[in-house]
């Protein structure tokens, strides 16, 4: 397995920034206000080395939107926000024109959509730029504690690599941070690196 170099990570950060821009555009169409999303850093970590600090998982509960995708490489993508932040974002997005924003079921559904927009934007940017096609499952939303999340990330021995994208999201003056985590097998990581090499080769 060839571990991704700094150059690969820079290329990924660039790709995901384009994805983040697309996601911001879609979100601002929905909320009718400016939305900014940036991806300040990308890391690839061995899942054994992952801990609460790498994912800035402090105490509390987290909202996790996940999608399984497949193509030249397979992965599970999970978008993590603290539950409190997630609910604030969603209630901001929903505005207050209707009383359903208080209803839990709809918050969850809205959170699923928010995650779906960000995940799809990142996946499609990656597919467009690296020239491949990805298929994806529908998003799934769960609320879990930091321990439960770490346990799940670590127990998955088929996918020993974890790509972590730190995400900054600003909607209507509310600023929040989250993490987008990709769980990758070593074959998948190798394939991803090969595709980045091809892309870098084509532009150099």
């Amino acid at each position: 397995m060839s571990n991704p170099s700094e150059l690969h990570l820079d290329a990924l950060a660039e790709i995901f920034s384009i994805g983040a821009g697309r996601a911001a555009l879609s979100l601002s169409e929905i909320v009718g206000d400016e939305v900014h999303i940036s991806v300040p850093s990308v890391q690839v970590i061995n899942s054994e080395d992952i801990n609460a600090t790498t994912l800035s998982l402090n105490s509390g509960r987290f909202g996790a939107v996940s999608q399984y995708f497949s193509g030249p490489f397979n992965a599970e993508a999970v978008l993590l926000f603290t539950e409190e932040q997630a609910l604030k974002i969603v209630s901001d997005m929903m505005g207050s024109q209707m009383s359903i924003e208080e209803l839990a079921e709809f918050e969850h559904e809205a959170m699923c959509e928010l995650g779906n927009i960000i995940l799809n934007a990142c996946l499609s940017a990656m597919a467009d730029i690296l020239h491949f096609t990805l298929e994806s499952s529908l998003p799934d939303y769960r609320v879990a504690s930091a321990d439960e999340i770490l346990h799940r990330l670590k127990e998955n021995s088929n996918q020993p690599y974890i790509m972590v994208l730190h995400i900054d999201l600003a909607i209507e003056k509310r600023h929040t941070t989250g993490n987008l985590v990709f769980l990758l097998s070593s074959t998948s990581l190798t394939n991803l690196v090969i595709h980045i090499d091809q892309f870098l080769g084509s532009i150099s």
Binding site: S26, M94, S99, E101, E107
Partner: protein
């Protein structure tokens, strides 16, 4: 059991029997499948929808977010969800309503998934579910839970707050007063000679007296921050923030006179032969282990000792001294 190699049903029948909207569009967003559910709720027949561009099928506009999502699924081949919370009613679909009323626009949850046709063309499956029923269901559950919550904190005899509510409220009120360094006043109220009232007039009359006193005390409150609760049998407690001591004392006197002026006969209560109350008041800015409730209780005890139908105010910081009406 042998495995079924082909479905013994006509897929068309299944789509048409589904209790959700199913529609398939091709890469040019031309409608290829339009099930009965969507025909019914859009009032557009299948024959009028097939082979037309999705957005031109409806006489009303389709929401821009829906069109963006559809385009994105057709381009990127990734599934998209449109939640009710963020979109309400993206498609002009309606629910039939009572006679003589306008049909209501349906709240929808939409899923758009990329699929491949048998000719290997890229298509999109659009599924629409009606969220109106879940919204209704959740609202009903919420209102039930609010009723239960209210019942759990209300005293069933007097309809004022119960002891459970008081205990929780008192703790929060003390913490707030300590943090913000503002004063808090606790009034302990007890009906005088209540046992002999019960003995003489009976328990039903006793219950009624408790109700009357509770309502008299409650009617004295006008601020949202103030509460009156039934503390136990014939004992009540009031919690009021932000009162200067003088105002708190005037208020204690107001409570006493409100009950006195009801003039409810109580033959065994000398010298007025009517229902009266004693009030113990403690007011101040709580610090550390200060216990306003104990002080107010001690003040009530003194009011009883001093002859009832009166209030006693014990300041929080000093001990032994009391201010009498």
């Amino acid at each position: 059991m042998s495995t079924v190699s082909a479905t013994p049903f006509d897929m068309e029948d299944i789509f048409n029997s589904l209790n959700l909207g199913v529609c398939v569009v091709d890469a040019d967003s031309k409608v290829l499948l339009w099930n009965n559910w969507i025909a019914k709720h859009s009032d557009i027949k299948k024959t009028d929808a097939l082979n037309r561009q999705f957005e031109t099928v409806f006489s009303e506009p389709v929401s821009p977010a829906f069109l963006t999502a559809l385009k994105s699924t057709l381009t990127h081949r990734l599934p998209v969800v449109l939640s009710t919370a963020l979109h309400r009613t993206p498609l002009p679909l309606y629910n039939a309503s009572e006679a003589n009323q306008q049909p209501t626009r349906m709240y929808q949850s939409i899923t758009i998934t990329p699929i491949q046709s048998q000719l290997n063309e890229s298509c999109c499956l659009i599924q629409v579910t009606d969220s109106s029923t879940s919204i209704k269901r959740e609202k009903i559950l919420r209102s039930h839970s609010e009723i239960l919550k209210k019942e759990a904190t209300t005293d069933s005899l007097t309809n004022i707050c119960n002891r459970r509510f008081f205990d929780a409220h008192y703790e929060i009120a003390i913490a707030d007063a300590k943090r913000q360094k503002h004063s808090l006043s606790i009034f302990m109220v007890d009906i005088d000679f209540f046992k002999s009232y019960n003995d003489y007039y009976g328990h039903i009359a006793g219950d009624n007296a408790i109700k009357q006193v509770a309502s008299a005390l409650k009617s004295q409150l006008s601020r949202a921050t103030d509460i009156v609760a039934r503390y136990g049998g014939e004992e009540f407690v009031l919690v009021m923030p932000h009162l200067p001591q003088k105002v708190a004392e005037q208020f204690a006197e107001k409570l006493r006179s409100a009950v006195f002026n009801m003039a409810m006969p109580h033959i065994n209560s000398s010298p007025f032969h009517r229902i009266t109350i004693s009030v113990g008041l403690c007011t101040g800015i709580p610090e550390n282990d200060d216990n306003l409730l104990n002080k107010a209780d001690a003040a009530l005890y003194q009011a009883k000792q001093k002859g009832r139908n009166r209030y006693i105010c014990l300041p929080l910081c000093e001990t032994g001294e009391y201010l009498e009406q």
